[in-house]
Symmetry: C2
Subunit: 143 residues, 2 copies
Amino acid sequence: MNELEPEYLKSAGLKSTLPRLKVLDLFKNGQERHMSAEDVYQLLRDSGDNVGLATVYRVLTQFEQAGLLVRHNFEGGKSVFELNEGTHHDHIVCMQCGHVEEFYDSAIESRQKKIAAELGFTIHDHSLQIYGDCTKAKCPHRR
Amino acid sequence: MNELEPEYLKSAGLKSTLPRLKVLDLFKNGQERHMSAEDVYQLLRDSGDNVGLATVYRVLTQFEQAGLLVRHNFEGGKSVFELNEGTHHDHIVCMQCGHVEEFYDSAIESRQKKIAAELGFTIHDHSLQIYGDCTKAKCPHRR
DNA sequence: ATGCAAACGAGAATAATTATCATTCGCGCC
DNA sequence: GGCGCGAATGATAATTATTCTCGTTTGCAT
Ligand SMILES: [Mn+2]
Ligand SMILES: [Mn+2]
Ligand SMILES: [Zn+2]
Ligand SMILES: [Zn+2]
């Protein structure tokens, strides 16, 4: 578990507690980039840590509000979180294997701004996901 | 309640029942274009019809599968449905008043296709919502 | 080391949706 | 128009994701 994280939490206005450090470590040094509350809970449990599920939900929401994590609502009804690394991106999700790729397209971004302006809206946020089948070798369901 | 709807249901492979006719009528002739299961349930209840909530959920899902309705997952955790009129569009939602505007942008659509192809995905679907504040006169929260 | 507010863990509560199952309905056939 | 039967319905229980409650523990400043 990274030594710098306690300071990282402090500077985000959150006191450094064991559950928070463990969750943050998972996102910073773990295998998965996009994780649900249940994912985080199980991974912590698997590594022998005893963190309550309610605490996982609390910490994820706090991290989101502090700007450390970003929340996404992919299809499937559960929130998914990832580290906030400052740069916005959107997602394409494989409906067969769940694999997620990230992309950023400035043409799409600027068209969104234009559309919002034309319709008289001030943009706060947007959510774009493409759903399909990946044909990558890593997809266990590829043809 | 429109006289042609029984045939409309039949041709969609669904037998013409009272609850189905009422739900369909709401989407075809009602005030709201985008409605959740609870919205539909309450509107039917308000108009004196006694339709079970479970039936509303069942019918909405059946209509979606039959291609009569389209389901959207806006923020807020509940599914929202609208009449499928053949043409795809995306949505911009006011975070103050909930007002929804629809838009279609061929530049965004074609960029999505290109991105999916580059990443080795076959697109099945996509979901794009812009969230902001509307400045329209109709927004009860405008400045 | 001590104190205390903040955070935690377990489990109850809530919200949206789905499953179960006894009763009712739509519809083809007499 | 009445029968019969499988599909559809409505009430309610069950499920899933998430939040709330509350007694206990912990981080951290004194
Ligand atoms: Mn991402
Ligand atoms: Mn629409
Ligand atoms: Zn795949
Ligand atoms: Zn508005």
